[in-house]
Assembly symmetry: C3
Homo-oligomer: 367 residues x 3
C-alpha cells in the first residue's frame, strides 16, 4: 500500500490549524456547462446565454454558482472526505468573483475544528475551504483570485475504530468552533455589472427585487427522479471521490445498503428547479447555511420549494470613493428546501417532514 501525500485521510489524520492545498487544478470549459445543463436542466438566463450576460456587463456567461461550489468542494474531497460518512453542514459561504470558461479552479482548506464521535468509530471534521481561479486572457494571469469560501463540517470514518465502545476514549473530544447563522448583507460582494439591464422576456419573468415579500412561499413546478448514472457522472465531473457515491458493493455492507447521492447534486437540482418562481435570481451571493437532513438514493423523487426569509439593500464601493447604494440590485435571502418522495406543502417549512435539504442563501435579484 503506497501512501501518497495527504490524500484519503481518516479522522485521525487531521490536526487543527493545518492548511491543505488540494491537488488537481481544474480548467473549466463549455463542456462543463453543457454537462451541468444535461444533469440539472437549469434555465436561468445568465448561465445559459452569452448575449444576456454581456448585456449586464459580464465579459462572458459566468458559470452557475452552484456548479462553482461543487467544483471547489470536489477539489477538497480527496483530502478531506474520501472516507466521509455524511456531509453535515455548510455555512459562512461567500461568492467573491464570477467564474468563466477558461478559468482554472483550485482550492485550499484550513482545519477549523475536530470532534470525535462517542461511538469511537468516526468524528466530525470542520474546515474552511477557499476556491481560487486563474484566468486566461491572452496569457495566464498567475495571480489567483478567490471566487468562493465557505465552512463545512463532515463526518469521517476513523482508520482504527474503537471496537468496544465502553473503552475509554484516548482522544479528547474538542468543541467545534461556532458558525455565524448567516452572512451579513454588508459583507456581500455585488458583481460589478448592471443588473438593471436584465431583459425580463429572456429571463422568463418580470418579477424583481421589489416584488418579493418576506414570508412568501414558492412551490417550484415539477419533481425529478434521481438516477445512479446521473449522480455518479455529476460527482465525477466535480472530481469528487467519496466512496459512498460510487461503490455499490462497498455500500451494501453499510446500514444504508446502497450508494448515497452526493449532497451537492441535490443542491444543484434545487437551484435548477427554483427557476420557476425565482427566474431573475441570476446568481448566488452567499450560502448562509446548508444541511442534509436525510440521505437520498437513486430512484427517489425530489421536489423543491422556497421561502423568502429577508431582503437587503447592498452597498458597493468604488475604487476611490465612499460606499454607495446599488440601485440595480438587491439581495434576497431565500430558504430552499428539498423534499423526498412527497411534494412540499406550506407546512413542510416548519415540520420538516420529508425534508432532505435545508439550504439558506442570499441571491442577487435585479431591482
Amino acid at each position: 500500500m503506497t501512501p501518497s501525500m495527504t490524500k484519503n485521510r481518516y479522522f485521525e489524520d487531521f490536526s487543527i490549524g493545518e492548511i491543505i492545498d488540494h491537488a488537481t487544478p481544474r480548467t473549466i470549459t463549455q463542456g462543463d456547462v453543457s454537462m451541468g445543463l444535461a444533469l440539472y436542466g437549469n434555465r436561468h438566463a445568465l448561465m445559459s446565454s452569452t448575449p444576456f450576460a454581456k448585456q449586464l456587463g459580464y465579459r462572458d456567461r459566468p458559470l452557475d454558482d452552484v456548479l462553482v461550489f461543487n467544483m471547489i468542494f470536489g477539489k477538497s474531497v480527496p483530502d478531506i472526505s474520501t472516507h466521509a460518512i455524511a456531509n453535515l453542514g455548510y455555512g459562512e459561504g461567500l461568492f467573491c468573483a464570477p467564474v468563466y470558461c477558461g478559468d482554472t479552479l483550485s482550492a485550499r482548506s484550513e482545519v477549523l475544528g475536530l470532534r470525535e464521535n462517542k461511538n469511537g468509530k468516526s468524528g466530525i471534521v470542520m474546515v474552511r475551504t477557499h476556491g481560487f481561479k486563474q484566468s486566461f486572457k491572452g496569457g495566464f494571469n498567475q495571480d489567483k483570485v478567490c471566487v468562493l469560501h465557505y465552512v463545512r463540517w463532515v463526518m469521517v470514518h476513523k482508520r482504527d475504530p474503537i471496537k468496544n465502545k465502553n473503552l475509554p476514549d484516548t482522544r479528547s473530544p474538542l468543541d467545534l468552533p461556532p458558525v455565524a447563522p448567516f452572512v451579513e448583507p454588508k459583507d456581500l460582494i455585488p458583481p460589478p455589472v448592471d443588473f438593471s439591464k436584465t431583459d425580463d422576456m429572456s429571463a422568463g419573468s418580470a418579477k424583481r427585487f421589489g416584488d418579493y415579500k418576506i414570508g412568501e412561499q414558492i412551490f417550484h413546478c415539477g419533481g425529478t427522479t434521481l438516477s445512479q448514472a446521473e449522480h455518479m457522472m455529476a460527482t465525477r465531473l466535480y472530481q469528487n471521490t467519496a466512496h459512498v457515491h460510487f461503490n455499490a458493493q462497498g455500500q451494501a455492507a453499510t446500514p444504508h445498503k446502497k450508494r448515497l447521492i452526493y449532497g451537492g447534486h441535490i443542491i444543484a437540482h434545487i437551484r435548477a428547479m427554483s427557476f420557476d418562481g425565482l427566474e431573475n435570481a441570476h446568481c448566488l451571493a452567499a450560502i448562509n447555511g446548508g444541511t442534509h437532513l436525510a440521505p437520498a438514493f437513486a430512484e427517489d423523487t425530489i421536489y423543491g420549494a422556497s421561502t423568502i426569509l429577508d431582503k437587503a439593500e447592498v452597498q458597493d464601493r468604488s475604487d476611490i470613493g465612499a460606499p454607495y447604494l446599488r440601485t440595480d440590485v438587491g439581495a434576497v435571502r431565500v430558504r430552499h428546501i428539498a423534499t423526498i418522495n412527497q411534494p412540499p406543502t406550506p407546512s413542510s417549512f416548519s415540520d420538516k417532514t420529508h425534508l432532505i435539504l435545508d439550504f439558506d442563501c442570499w441571491l442577487w435579484m435585479p431591482k
Copy 2:
C-alpha cells in the same frame, strides 16, 4: 403559489393568435455537440469534423439539425407543453440556416389552433415555432436569423378537467388548421456551400443523390436500448421541462405508470442510426411530418429503417440573378421509421406494427 409570466400553461391558458416569446436564450457550445455524440453516437462526418465541414465551405462544423430542432423545441416546452400528455405531430418544418457553436438560440411561438378533447380533461394546442440564432463573430450581431420553423400539435392537460364527462362542454371545440402534407422542394433552402466537395472516404460511403431509388428500403444496422438516465440528460440538455419525462412518482399515478421517453430523443436516435445507409445525408432540409405512434419507455429497444419517398432537384438564387439549378446537391425525401422491441421488416412500412415514430423529411444529399 407564485405565478410567473406565461410559463407552465394548461389548456385553458392559450388563445388563438397569441405570440409567445420563450425564455432563456441558449448559447450552443462544443459541450452540447459532445453531449449529443455521447447520447446518440452520430457518425455523419459534417457534424463530427471541422476539416470536413470547411472543405464544403462551412465556416465550422454545423450542429446536427436534429440537435437544433430539439434545442428550439425545448425552449418552447415551459410555455407550451409543461403539462403535455403527448406530442402528437410536427409538420411544415423548414431548416433555414446552419447553427454553429457560439450561436445563441432563442424561440417564439404563435398559437395556430386549439381543440378541446371530448373527455373534458385535455385539449390539443397547435403552434408554429420559430427558432432564431444570434451569431458571435468578433462581436455580437444583434440581428436574429431564423434557423428553423415548424408546426407542432400537442395534447395538454386542462387545469380544471370536467369531472363528469356527460356535462355539456362550455368551450366550443375549434378545428385545427390544416397542415401541408409535405414541404414543396421549391421552398427548400440549400446551404450556401459546395456539397460536391464531399470526401466519400471520410463520409463513409460513395453513395450519392443519383444512387438512391424511389421506393428503396434501408434497414439500419443495430438497435439501441433506452435508459432513464440518458433520456433525462438529453431532455434536460434541451432545457425541456415536460414533467412526464422526469417524475417517476408523478407518472406512477398515470395509465402509463412510468416516465415517457421524450419523442425528440427517439428522433435523434433514428437520425444517428440512419447513418448506416444514408452516410452522405449531411443535414436536413425540411421536416414534412412527424408522428409519435406509441410511447417508449426506458429499457425498450428501438430500431430504425428508412424508405426513399421522393427525390428533387433544387434551385438556388444568387443575390442578383435568376434562380439556377444546384448541380452539387439534391433533396431526397426519406421516411424514417422507428420500431420498438422488434427489428423492422419490409412490411413495417405499411402495417405499422411496432412503430413508435413515423418521420418524413427532406435530406440534403451530394450529387
Copy 3:
C-alpha cells in the same frame, strides 16, 4: 438491405494485407474532455489543468491518452468489429504525439492476420490501427500526424456460420502473426516538454521516477460500480458501434444474456483509479499488452491495482545531434489489473482470480 462500402463486416469480409480507411473524422473538443471527466473522474493534473500543462511546455492541456486510444479505437469499430464477440487483446501500442482540443482524429487499419475458429461460427481478426490528427492553428495544417498506433485482435462473427460443425472447413485457418511482448524503451517517444517542471502540490504527490521500485504493488483507493447509461454514453462518445454494447434485446439471445461493457471503458476507469499512487504518471508512453480476461456487465463493481514491472531511462534526439539522455523524465512499466466484485489483494497479480483486465503499459514519470 443496402450495402455501404466496407462497414459492418463479418469475418468473411476481411482479407490479409487490406488497408481500411475508417470513416467519420472526429474533431476533439473541451466537451469531450468534460464527458471523459464525468465518466471516469480522472484527476491527473496534466489533463485537468491548462496552466499545469503550459508550465511543462505543452501548448494546452493534452487529452488523456486513454481517451485518445478510445477515440481511435472507436473509429475502427464500424469497419472491424461491429459484429465483434469480444476484444481479445492489444499490443505494440505507441503514443507518438499529444492530442489537443481542436485536433481532428482519423484512423486507418491494416489487416495483419485472420484465423477462423474451429466452431465455424467466428474468427479472429488482427489489425494494426494508426490514429492521426490534423491540427488547427489559425488555419488547418493538412498534414496528418500519427498520434498512436497499436495492434489488436478481436473475435468476429461469421456472416454464414457453419451450422453443422462436423462439416469440413472450406477456409484454411491461418496463423496470426506474433506480437512483441513489450515495446522496447528505445522506441518510446518522449514528449518534447520539461517534466521536471511538474508542480507536485498540484499533481497531488511528490513521488517521482526515483521513488518507484520494481516489484512494488499499489492498491488504488475505492471501487466503482458500472452502469448501463454510463458505458453506453462512453461508447457512443467514441462513435463505437459494436452491437454487444447497446442492444439489450439482441444480447438476451446470447450466452451472456445482457449487454457487455466496452473493454476500453474498463481501461479508462483503471487509468482514472490509478491516480491514487501514480499521481505523477502524467501520460502513457506505450501499451505493451492488454487482455480482457472476462466480460463485465452493468452493476458489477470494479477495482484497480498496479505493480511496477520495470523502469527505463529514455533517450531523446535533437533535430541535428546525437541522442541524449532525458534527465527530466523516465519510463515506468506498470501492470494495471482490474478485478470484478472483489477488491484486489497481493495474490491477485498471480492467481488472476476475479481479474477482468490485465493491462501492461509504459508511463511517463517525472524525475
